[in-house]
Symmetry: C2
Subunit: 451 residues, 2 copies
C-alpha cells in the first residue's frame, strides 16, 4: 500500500523561513503612524516588539535563517505530517487527489505555536520578562503560553469574553502552561474600561483585546506585546508549513493545482500558501483559495483600505482588506476567524488577483467537519472546517468534470476543545448568519481617507 | 542536533501482533464458566464475540498476521513516534535517558483505537451490525465509536455515570463519530435496574457498565460486545506499540533498562511491555514497572484469584489480580484506572515476578503531569500521569546514584478532554485517597473459592 502520511525527518526541517514580499510584483504599502499618518520606522515599534522581530517585520530579504533553539523547540512536533485524505476522497467519489498538511499535532493543537516559539525565543534573547497578548478562540493564547513555558517567560493573555465563556478548556490549557488569562473587555486597561462604559455586556472582539494587550504591554517596562497573526514576521514564521509541504509533495510525486486554507488574520493560510505562491508568480498554473465565514466576510465583502488593527486605534494604520475597526462580528464558533482585518501581505496578494476569497456559512462547514471526522478520523476545529468545506467543493467540481486535480489544504487545528460547538450543531442549535451590508458600510465609512 | 522524535515509515509498521502467552513459563489458568465453574470453550463466547476474535483470545501462537484493512486504518495515525524526553531530562537533571512512545496522536487521543479498529474490522467481517461496549473515562468508548465510523458499524456505549458527568467532551466525541451514549447504571438493562434499585445515586463503575453492555449485546441478534482492555485479544492488538518501539529504540541506538506504564485493565502497558518482556524471559536484565492509583490498588493490594470481570457476575471467571467484583472505587479523575480486576496475562506476569507493581497518589501524578507539560509540551491524561510519575521517580533515582539508565514509558493519551480535572488540581480541590484495607478485604471475602 502507498503511504497515507508523509513524514520528514528532523534534519529535513527547513532551516530558513520564506518572505513572499521579496517576490510580490508590488511593494507593500507602508504602515502609518496612528497619530501623524506618516510611515512608521523601527523606533515606533520598539515599545511593543524586540528589535529582532521588528527587523523581520520590515525585511525585504527572501530568506531568514531559523535559529537552532527555535528549530529545537519546533522539533517537539515538527516536521508535521502531510496526509493523503484517502478516506475523504473515497466518500466524495472524486477523481481529485486531496492532501492536507496536519498542523493539529502541536501540543496546543494548531499551527499557532510555529510563530509563538519564535517570538518567545526572540523576546527572551532581548531580555524581556513577560509577553502580553490577546486571543480569540484561545488557540493563540494557549500557544503563546506553551511557548513561554519552554523559554521561561511569563505570559499574560486577554481573551475575547465570548470565547472565554464558550471555551473553558482553552483557558485551562493556558493555566497548565503557566499563563494568566483575563476576559476582555476588562477593567484592567483604559481601553477595556472605555468599552465597558459604553456597553457593559460587550462580548468582546479581537480588536478590543488587541487594544488591551498593547496598552498593558506598553505600560510595563519588563513586558513586550506579541501578536498571533496579521503581521509580516508572523506570516514569515508560519512559512515553515508550506516549505515542509513542498518537500513532502515532492516525496509524494505530486504537485498542488489548488492550495486552500481558512483565513482569520491570514497566518495559517499564508504559512501554507506563500511558498507555493512563488510558483504562481513565476508563471505556474496554481489556484489559491482562501476561505472565510459569511458572518465575518473581510476579504469577500470588506474593502482594501488603510485601517487600524485594533478597535481603539492604538496600532499603526495598515493597508488591508477590512470590515472597519469598529466591526464586532457575532459570537460564532470559529472564533479564530472573527477579525475585522487581514494580513497586509495576504490582502495585497488578493488585490493582485493571486488569491481568490470565498465565504461559507457555519452549518455547511460543520457538515464538512463531520464528514471529515467520519472518514479521516481527526475532529477539525470549526476554523479548519472552513478549509475543508472549500476543499470538498473543489473535489466535487472534479467529480462533475472528471478532472484529476491535486488539492492541498491546511488542517490548521483539531476541534477537541470545540466539542461544545459540535454539541450545539448536533442539537440543531446553530444557525447561519450573513453580516448585514449596511452595518459593514457604516463601519467602513468611519475609516480615515488615506491613499 | 540529534532527533527528538523517531518515526517509522508506514511500510515499517509491524505486520504481525505478538502473543506473550507463547513465551510465558507458565500457562494461563483457563477462564471458567460463571454458572458451571468449568473451563469455557469457544462456543461459550460465541454470543458476545465473533469467532475470529475468540480464536485470538485462545491462541497459543506467538505471532498473528495483521490483516491489510486493519493496517490501513491504523495508518491514519501509526506508526506512532518514539520521543526522547530531552526537556524532562534537563528539568530533572538526571543522567538517565527517558523515552516515551507517544500514543496520543490517534484521533481519539489514546492507544485505545489500536484494538478498536481491529475489533471493528473482525466484527464487520463476521456480518455484525452494531457493537455494544462500556467506557470509563471515555477513552475506550470514543475509540470504538471512531473505529465503527471507519468500518461502517453502529456503536452503542454505556458510560460510567460519574465520567459521563465529568467528561462531557468525551461524550461529544462519540457523537461526532456517530456513536450513541447512555450513562451507566441505566434503566435500559436488568443489570442497571438492579443496581439502581439498590442505590439510585450509584456513580457507576466499569464492572457495572460491563454488565449492562454484555446484557444488551446478548439480547440483540445483530450486535456483539466489545471490550477495550483485559482480554488476551485486546492485549494482542496493543502489542503493535511495543513492536514499533523495539524498532525505534534500535534506530536510536539504545535499549530500555526499565519499561514503565500506567495500568487500569492492563492493555496499554501490555502493549508496550510484552514485546520487551520476551527479552527478560530470555535472560536480559530489564525491569518492568506497572503504575496504578493508590485508590484502586488492584495489583499492589488485591489478590491473585478467580473473579468475575463485571459486577453482576455475567462474565466468565478469570484468574487475575482483583479487588473483588463488588469493589467500587472513588470517582478519581484517572477514570481509566478504576477497574477492580486486571488482565490475566499481566496478572500472571506479576505473579511470576516479571512485572513490579507500584501505586501513586493523585496529587503527585498531577504534579508530574504539570512538569511534563511545561517541559515536553503535551498535556497528559490523568491516567498517563501515573506512568510519568513512575518514570520521574526512576530518573530521580538515577540522579542520586549517577546511573545512566534508559527509561521507556508509554504515553498512553493526552489530557485535553481532562482539563476540568486540571482546573480542580490548580484550584486545590483535589485530594489524595487510600482505599480502606477493610473494604478491600470485605470485597475479596465475597469471591468464590476456586484453585
Amino acid at each position: 500500500m502507498s503511504s497515507k502520511r508523509i513524514f520528514l525527518s528532523e534534519n529535513e526541517m527547513p532551516t530558513k523561513w520564506y518572505n513572499l514580499l521579496a517576490d510580490l510584483p508590488e511593494q507593500l504599502p507602508p504602515p502609518l503612524h496612528p497619530g501623524t499618518g506618516q510611515p512608521i520606522g523601527p523606533d515606533d515599534l520598539a515599545p511593543i516588539f524586540p528589535m529582532s522581530l521588528i527587523a523581520q517585520e520590515m525585511s525585504p530579504e527572501r530568506w531568514t535563517e531559523i535559529p537552532d533553539p527555535i528549530r529545537e523547540a519546533l522539533a517537539i512536533w515538527r516536521p508535521s505530517p502531510l496526509v493523503r485524505a484517502t478516506g475523504l476522497e473515497k466518500a466524495l467519489k472524486t477523481p481529485a487527489r486531496i492532501y492536507y498538511k496536519d498542523e493539529s499535532h502541536s501540543p496546543p493543537g494548531s499551527h499557532k505555536p510555529n510563530t509563538a516559539v519564535a517570538q518567545a525565543f526572540y523576546n527572551k534573547e532581548a531580555g524581556v520578562k513577560r509577553l502580553v497578548t490577546e486571543t480569540g478562540a484561545g488557540q493563540w493564547g494557549s500557544s503563546l503560553a506553551f511557548a513561554c513555558s519552554l523559554f521561561d517567560l511569563e505570559c499574560k493573555v486577554y481573551m475575547v469574553k465570548v470565547s472565554y465563556q464558550q471555551k473553558p478548556y482553552r483557558r485551562s490549557m493556558m493555566h497548565v502552561w503557566g499563563g494568566s488569562v483575563t476576559p476582555s473587555p476588562s477593567e484592567e486597561t483604559e481601553a477595556g474600561r472605555q468599552i465597558l462604559a459604553a456597553d457593559p455586556d460587550c462580548p468582546g472582539s479581537l480588536g478590543i483585546a488587541i487594544s488591551e494587550a498593547v496598552e498593558a504591554a506598553v505600560k510595563d517596562d519588563e513586558a513586550k506585546y506579541s501578536l498571533g497573526s496579521v503581521l509580516n514576521h508572523v506570516l514569515l514564521h508560519q512559512t515553515i508549513i508550506g516549505l515542509e509541504a513542498e518537500k513532502q509533495m515532492k516525496i509524494a510525486g505530486d504537485s498542488p493545482d489548488i492550495v486552500i486554507g481558512c483565513v482569520g488574520g491570514g497566518s495559517n493560510y499564508a504559512g501554507l500558501a506563500f511558498p507555493f505562491l512563488r510558483r504562481k508568480i513565476a508563471g505556474q498554473d496554481i489556484r489559491f483559495v482562501a476561505s472565510e465565514p459569511c458572518c465575518c466576510p473581510t476579504m469577500s465583502r470588506g474593502q482594501y483600505r488603510y485601517d487600524f488593527g485594533d478597535t481603539t486605534k492604538l496600532t499603526p494604520l495598515i493597508k488591508m482588506y477590512t470590515l472597519g475597526h469598529s466591526f464586532i462580528p457575532p459570537g460564532i464558533h470559529a472564533g479564530g476567524l472573527r477579525y475585522h482585518g487581514m494580513a497586509p501581505a495576504v490582502s495585497l496578494a488578493i488585490k493582485l488577483g493571486l488569491i481568490e476569497p470565498v465565504a461559507y456559512h457555519q452549518l455547511e462547514c460543520f457538515d464538512a467537519a463531520k464528514l471529515f471526522a467520519a472518514t479521516e478520523g481527526t475532529i477539525p476545529a470549526p476554523e479548519t472546517a472552513h478549509a475543508i468545506r472549500a476543499a470538498i467543493i473543489e473535489a466535487e467540481k472534479c467529480r462533475e468534470t472528471g478532472e484529476e486535480k491535486c488539492i492541498l489544504f491546511n488542517f490548521s487545528g483539531h476541534g477537541i476543545c470545540d466539542l461544545g460547538a459540535y454539541d450545539k450543531y448536533f442539537a440543531g442549535e446553530l444557525s447561519d448568519f450573513d453580516y448585514p451590508q449596511k452595518k459593514i458600510e457604516e463601519a467602513i465609512a468611519e475609516l480615515p481617507e488615506i491613499d
